[in-house]
Subunit: 203 residues, 3 copies
């Protein structure tokens, strides 16, 4: 089960990085830009979580293999044609992986904040922060209004609901793995539904 969560986290990091690579290619950046944008998207939310919660070393400083993996992927992403990136099937696939990543980051943020004794509302917020801020930084660097703040299909909301489900299930059963799996599942399903049926917030 722990291996499952770890696998989902890695898939999520890759999906986040791909969205960064995609934007960078679209803006005609070189390998440095592609790699940098992939890195901030994939690792930005977790870094902010670690800095806010004073956890050192930051997760990617400790797990240096993430940075190396993303460099390898970034080189590949710089070599393939831009059209490949925009293939409908790939987009759907990346959106699904991205939803998994959102769920796993939300769980990790809520879990770590909760362990450090934060109030549940703050823990839920840190789940959302971990899940969405990589993308926020990506969009800000690209000079765009962050996607996640716009009136579009539910994204941060899925993360928020998922983070609360983590906190409630952890409180009820005291089982971190069960809570994380349910957070990932709920975030993922809610996000897929929102995309499929174009569900937006009423306000």
């Amino acid at each position: 089960m722990n291996t499952l969560i770890k696998t989902i986290e890695v898939l999520g990091i890759i999906a986040f990085a791909l969205t960064g690579f995609y934007k960078a290619r679209k803006l005609r950046m070189d390998l440095i830009g592609v790699y940098a944008l992939g890195m901030v998207t994939a690792l930005g939310g977790g870094s902010l979580r670690d800095i806010i919660l004073n956890r050192h070393p930051l997760f990617w400083v400790q797990h240096y293999e993430y940075a190396i993996l993303l460099l390898a992927l970034g080189i590949v992403a710089s070599l393939v044609s831009q059209e490949l990136f925009e293939k409908k099937k790939l987009v759907v696939f990346v959106l699904a992986l991205d939803a998994l990543g959102l769920g796993s980051f939300s769980a990790s943020g809520a879990s770590l904040a909760n362990q450090l004794g934060c109030h549940p509302f703050i823990s839920a917020l840190l789940g959302v922060t971990t899940g969405v801020f990589g993308g926020v930084i990506r969009d800000v660097v690209c000079n765009e209004i962050p996607y996640v703040f716009q009136r579009t299909e539910l994204y941060a909301t899925c993360s928020f609901v998922g983070a609360w489900s983590y906190l409630l299930i952890f409180r009820a059963y005291g089982n971190d793995v069960l809570a994380a799996v349910s957070c990932i599942a709920i975030t993922f399903i809610l996000r897929m539904f929102a995309l499929q049926y174009k569900i937006k917030l009423p306000i």
Copy 2:
């Protein structure tokens, strides 16, 4: 007196948040965007202060009631009409509260840096950072050149003068509350004057 300072801080946080809500509504963001922009504006400067000075937990992680209060206000702000936000009287009122907030954040930044033994110039800078960076982050996220860096009515300058008044009065009398009140008063009066008479920096 301490209650007075606390009250002013809360009023300032609310005013800062309102400027974030306003921008978000103008950009037609949904509740997530409204809340997020209110949060970064209201809590961004203090967070940066705490991270620079290595103070943990961050003030809003500890005082979780701020985040909950802002969510409640953000929901209200998402429901009212955009016109209400632009009512002349409300704008003047928010500008006044914002000036109070600027003063109270400047005092808190200068005070905490001073307590930790920073050089007075650095303490004054941290007062300004605490006072203005929430707004800087808000503007950057909204894809605008930060208001506070533009050739417009004195803003950061009021904070800088206020922070120095805190440091000088604290050095002279050793009284934190007196120093904070004078910082708030000086920042507020200077900012109101600058707005009234359109005072700008000569260079």
Copy 3:
């Protein structure tokens, strides 16, 4: 030799600040904007390095003379005519100083990360982060796609190569000063070559 490295660092900080002053003047900012943009460009990369590596107090909080020096320079930069800033000779001179600064920041980032036991790849990344992120923040604040991510003359690449040269020479000879000097020299020469011959990354 240590004095040489320190001198180069100060020259680099000044060069970084000048690029911030220049952008601020171009955007018609007032003294606050000029100073703020100079500060984030000159001190942003080192601050990020210190925050990521949990080094407190931040280098500019401790060495308060940097902030005061930059204020003095910022006032001068606000008073001179915009044309002076764009003089061909000055531009070339600032580009050369900037390359020295890039080298010295790369060395400091790689050195400090290495001392704290980071993996060499992470240490090299932190060298690059220290060298380039001040400029990234400057460009983001100015609402521009960061220069360093664009398909233009090698910049971050020089820093990356320089940081690796630091790490390899330090590993071989155990001499911090020798490693730093070689990092600065290699970064500088590579950057000058890239500018002269318009060398860009192939992908």
